[in-house]
Symmetry: C2
Subunit: 216 residues, 2 copies
């Protein structure tokens, strides 16, 4: 059991799904921010809660599986849309829109609002770890050596301010089923947080196809 | 500049703030889950988005500062309510309700839904890192040695299933301004992820009071 789902979705189906449900996650991200910042009167807050409950009832009328998983169609188009970092249907995810370069480097520019705060005005150290785990894992996959995180080491060089940030990662080398990746998050002044990770190809994904993920 | 806010809020003010705004974050957490799982028709999804936009406008009528920060009142009652892990006003936070024991151990029982997914049916490795960063930092603070994360090392022993989980941490020792803390996240079968962290007291918080945080 891989938990990965190969489905019959056409490219058109996929575009329709994103156009239908993506905007729900988008407005919920904006609501997360005002949930923290709002100072409206108690009766306004109560009215907001009542309306949000109504929307919850509307959207709950038809529910899919307990979690989204990672779905692939026959063209190999992957949809990790529930993913906590890149999931376009997940309001918890910023979401990162990761770019992949031919030289193996992957990167993303993103903005973190108040829902990612740890120390006042700074990104939560654990949020940096969360984003770096995803970036490093995607760099390993982009280099042809996908895997689950084995170890992750984060070094905090200075506080990471909320706002515009840049993240990037690249695989440095492999040793058998292990991929070694490093990366960082930076603001306009330079690197704030560095990470090194070791990713390990799960046993179920190792096969005669030399370590490529199989979905057959 | 510490970014920590000492305010005039009474205990009653604080209870009123939590009762007023906490439920907004609660229903937004439930909405995050259905945002990922819903399969309603496009017109229902569009109606949901329109209604969510209205609530966004309602709540945006009066906004406080750009981020919540950490507020303290004169009784020393801290409100890290925007915090990405423990913030009761933050829909991104599960939120963890951390318990503190006399022997220095801190712990929390919590449930992670589909918005914290990485690999299919499993907690995102970075989400485990996020929660462990908070748990380890709180253990350092509980032991009297608060600080910012210096380094964080996470070892993934096996996949962490979504659902009911337990996290805990304890400071092992200090060296000057550094606190060494270890912890883990476990499910009913045992430990899934282990962490070690080094927390460093920021320069601004070191003083004649022997390293205790000062808010004067």
């Amino acid at each position: 059991m891989t938990g990965y789902i190969l489905d019959e979705a056409t490219t058109q189906d996929i575009e329709r799904e994103q156009a239908t449900y993506g905007p729900i996650a988008e407005v919920l991200r904006e609501l997360a921010e005002v949930s923290i910042r709002t100072e409206v009167a108690p009766e306004v807050a109560a009215e907001a809660v009542a309306r949000l409950r109504e929307v919850h009832t509307m959207l709950s009328a038809e529910l899919g599986g307990a979690s989204y998983g990672t779905r692939f169609n026959k063209e190999g188009f992957g949809r990790p849309w529930g993913n906590a970092v890149v999931g376009v249907r997940n309001p918890v995810a910023p979401p990162l829109d990761i770019q992949r370069e031919d030289d193996g480097r992957i990167w993303a520019d993103f903005v973190l609002g108040p829902q990612y705060e740890g120390p006042p005005t700074l990104v939560h150290g654990g949020v940096s770890a969360l984003l770096l785990d995803q970036l490093l894992g995607e760099a390993a996959a982009h280099a042809g050596s996908p895997g689950m995180t084995g170890t992750l080491t984060i070094r905090y060089r200075r506080g990471t301010p909320l706002g515009k940030l840049h993240g990037e990662a690249k695989m440095t080398h492999t040793e058998g089923v292990k991929s070694f990746v490093s990366g960082h998050i930076a603001d306009a002044e330079g690197v704030c947080v560095e990470a090194e990770g070791v990713f390990i190809l799960p046993r179920w994904a190792r096969g005669e196809n030399n370590g490529k993920l199989r979905f057959d």
